[in-house]
Protein backbone atom coordinates (compact mmCIF):
# COMPACT_ATOMS: atom_id res chain seq x y z
CA UNK A 1 0.00 0.00 0.00
CA UNK A 2 2.93 2.31 -0.54
CA UNK A 3 1.13 4.22 -3.29
CA UNK A 4 -1.68 4.88 -0.86
CA UNK A 5 0.87 6.10 1.68
CA UNK A 6 2.22 8.52 -0.86
CA UNK A 7 -1.24 9.79 -1.72
CA UNK A 8 -2.38 9.91 1.91
CA UNK A 9 0.67 11.99 2.80
CA UNK A 10 0.27 14.31 -0.17
CA UNK A 11 -0.68 17.18 2.15
CA UNK A 12 2.81 16.97 3.64
CA UNK A 13 4.57 17.78 0.38
CA UNK A 14 2.16 19.14 -2.22
CA UNK A 15 2.77 22.86 -1.71
CA UNK A 16 5.69 24.76 -0.22
CA UNK A 17 5.64 25.39 3.52
CA UNK A 18 4.28 27.45 5.20
CA UNK A 19 1.41 26.98 2.75
CA UNK A 20 -0.88 24.05 3.52
CA UNK A 21 -3.01 21.78 1.38
CA UNK A 22 -6.55 20.57 1.95
CA UNK A 23 -7.52 17.68 -0.30
CA UNK A 24 -11.18 17.86 -1.25
CA UNK A 25 -10.98 14.82 -3.50
CA UNK A 26 -8.28 12.94 -5.36
CA UNK A 27 -9.92 10.18 -7.39
CA UNK A 28 -6.77 8.63 -8.80
CA UNK A 29 -7.94 7.29 -12.15
CA UNK A 30 -8.31 8.68 -15.63
CA UNK A 31 -11.18 11.17 -15.53
CA UNK A 32 -11.20 11.20 -11.73
CA UNK A 33 -11.63 14.49 -9.92
CA UNK A 34 -8.65 16.31 -8.43
CA UNK A 35 -9.71 19.11 -6.11
CA UNK A 36 -7.51 20.80 -3.53
CA UNK A 37 -7.30 24.08 -1.69
CA UNK A 38 -3.92 25.58 -0.89
CA UNK A 39 -3.84 28.06 1.96
CA UNK A 40 -1.15 30.61 2.72
CA UNK A 41 0.03 31.92 6.09
CA UNK A 42 -1.75 35.26 5.59
CA UNK A 43 -5.15 33.81 4.75
CA UNK A 44 -4.52 33.41 1.04
CA UNK A 45 -6.49 30.69 -0.71
CA UNK A 46 -5.85 29.07 -4.05
CA UNK A 47 -8.31 26.42 -5.22
CA UNK A 48 -7.39 23.78 -7.77
CA UNK A 49 -10.07 21.87 -9.65
CA UNK A 50 -9.26 19.45 -12.44
CA UNK A 51 -9.08 15.82 -13.50
CA UNK A 52 -6.51 13.10 -13.79
CA UNK A 53 -5.74 12.12 -17.36
CA UNK A 54 -3.44 9.18 -16.65
CA UNK A 55 -2.44 7.31 -13.51
CA UNK A 56 0.25 4.63 -13.62
CA UNK A 57 1.04 3.72 -10.00
CA UNK A 58 4.64 4.39 -9.15
CA UNK A 59 5.49 5.67 -12.59
CA UNK A 60 3.41 8.53 -13.87
CA UNK A 61 0.57 10.88 -12.98
CA UNK A 62 -0.89 13.30 -15.53
CA UNK A 63 -3.53 15.84 -14.59
CA UNK A 64 -5.04 19.01 -16.02
CA UNK A 65 -7.36 21.83 -15.11
CA UNK A 66 -8.70 21.93 -18.68
CA UNK A 67 -11.67 19.89 -17.44
CA UNK A 68 -13.57 19.34 -14.26
CA UNK A 69 -14.99 15.90 -13.36
CA UNK A 70 -17.35 14.55 -16.01
CA UNK A 71 -15.21 16.11 -18.75
CA UNK A 72 -16.70 19.55 -18.31
CA UNK A 73 -14.39 21.98 -20.07
CA UNK A 74 -13.09 25.05 -18.30
CA UNK A 75 -10.49 27.65 -19.15
CA UNK A 76 -7.26 25.67 -19.21
CA UNK A 77 -4.01 26.71 -17.64
CA UNK A 78 -1.76 23.68 -17.68
CA UNK A 79 -1.18 19.94 -17.92
CA UNK A 80 0.87 18.61 -15.01
CA UNK A 81 3.03 15.53 -15.46
CA UNK A 82 4.85 13.83 -12.59
CA UNK A 83 7.09 10.88 -13.32
CA UNK A 84 9.03 8.51 -11.05
CA UNK A 85 11.91 6.66 -12.68
CA UNK A 86 13.90 4.01 -10.86
CA UNK A 87 17.64 4.60 -11.07
CA UNK A 88 19.86 2.24 -9.08
CA UNK A 89 17.56 2.05 -6.10
CA UNK A 90 16.77 5.75 -6.13
CA UNK A 91 13.96 7.58 -7.84
CA UNK A 92 14.29 10.40 -10.30
CA UNK A 93 11.25 12.61 -9.75
CA UNK A 94 10.33 14.91 -12.61
CA UNK A 95 7.61 17.52 -12.42
CA UNK A 96 6.52 19.07 -15.70
CA UNK A 97 3.99 21.81 -16.36
CA UNK A 98 2.90 22.23 -19.98
CA UNK A 99 0.95 25.28 -21.04
CA UNK A 100 -1.13 26.15 -24.08
CA UNK A 101 0.64 29.44 -24.67
CA UNK A 102 3.85 31.20 -23.83
CA UNK A 103 2.12 33.85 -21.72
CA UNK A 104 0.74 31.19 -19.37
CA UNK A 105 4.17 29.62 -19.04
CA UNK A 106 5.71 32.97 -18.12
CA UNK A 107 2.82 33.65 -15.73
CA UNK A 108 3.46 30.31 -14.05
CA UNK A 109 7.17 31.01 -13.83
CA UNK A 110 6.42 34.42 -12.31
CA UNK A 111 4.14 32.71 -9.78
CA UNK A 112 7.24 30.92 -8.54
CA UNK A 113 7.13 27.61 -10.37
CA UNK A 114 10.89 27.07 -10.17
CA UNK A 115 11.36 27.78 -6.48
CA UNK A 116 7.97 26.36 -5.54
CA UNK A 117 8.30 23.04 -7.31
CA UNK A 118 11.91 22.69 -6.13
CA UNK A 119 10.69 23.06 -2.55
CA UNK A 120 7.86 20.62 -3.25
CA UNK A 121 10.33 18.09 -4.65
CA UNK A 122 12.49 18.51 -1.55
CA UNK A 123 9.46 18.01 0.71
CA UNK A 124 8.53 14.88 -1.25
CA UNK A 125 12.09 13.68 -0.75
CA UNK A 126 11.81 14.27 3.01
CA UNK A 127 8.47 12.41 3.18
CA UNK A 128 9.94 9.53 1.20
CA UNK A 129 12.92 9.26 3.56
CA UNK A 130 10.53 9.21 6.51
CA UNK A 131 8.94 5.95 5.39
CA UNK A 132 5.99 5.28 7.66
Amino acid sequence: MVWRAWIDRLVEWWCPNPWSTEVIENDMRAGGRSAMIMRGPNGEESAMEGVFLEVVPGERVVCTNAFTAGWVPQTPFMVGIMTFNDEDGKTRFTGIARHWDEASMHEHAAMGFGDGWAIVAAQLDAVARDKR
Binding site: I7, M28, P57, T91, T94, G95, A97
Partner: protein, 46 residues
Protein backbone atom coordinates in the same frame (compact mmCIF):
# COMPACT_ATOMS: atom_id res chain seq x y z
CA UNK B 1 14.04 24.45 -13.68
CA UNK B 2 14.01 24.53 -17.45
CA UNK B 3 11.74 26.11 -20.01
CA UNK B 4 11.05 24.62 -23.41
CA UNK B 5 9.65 26.80 -26.16
CA UNK B 6 11.48 25.85 -29.32
CA UNK B 7 10.34 22.82 -31.29
CA UNK B 8 7.17 21.82 -29.42
CA UNK B 9 3.63 23.16 -29.74
CA UNK B 10 3.45 23.59 -25.98
CA UNK B 11 5.32 25.70 -23.44
CA UNK B 12 6.95 23.72 -20.69
CA UNK B 13 8.50 24.22 -17.26
CA UNK B 14 10.11 21.35 -15.40
CA UNK B 15 12.00 20.36 -12.27
CA UNK B 16 13.93 17.19 -11.49
CA UNK B 17 15.18 15.69 -8.25
CA UNK B 18 16.70 12.41 -7.17
CA UNK B 19 14.76 10.92 -4.26
CA UNK B 20 16.69 8.55 -2.06
CA UNK B 21 14.18 5.70 -2.04
CA UNK B 22 13.39 3.08 -4.69
CA UNK B 23 10.55 3.79 -7.12
CA UNK B 24 8.68 0.89 -5.51
CA UNK B 25 8.07 3.23 -2.57
CA UNK B 26 5.79 5.15 -4.89
CA UNK B 27 3.84 2.01 -5.69
CA UNK B 28 5.52 0.70 -8.79
CA UNK B 29 5.23 -2.73 -10.36
CA UNK B 30 1.43 -2.76 -10.42
CA UNK B 31 0.84 -4.77 -7.27
CA UNK B 32 -0.83 -2.15 -5.12
CA UNK B 33 -4.26 -0.65 -4.86
CA UNK B 34 -5.19 2.86 -5.86
CA UNK B 35 -6.66 5.20 -3.29
CA UNK B 36 -10.34 5.22 -2.52
CA UNK B 37 -12.48 5.78 -5.57
CA UNK B 38 -9.86 4.33 -7.87
CA UNK B 39 -9.96 1.07 -9.72
CA UNK B 40 -7.91 -1.55 -7.87
CA UNK B 41 -5.06 -3.06 -9.80
CA UNK B 42 -5.68 -6.77 -10.47
CA UNK B 43 -4.04 -8.82 -7.76
CA UNK B 44 -3.82 -5.90 -5.38
CA UNK B 45 -3.78 -6.68 -1.67
CA UNK B 46 -7.05 -6.12 0.15
Amino acid sequence: MSAETASQPWFELSVKRMVDVPATWFGGHGSIALSSGGVPTPGAPK
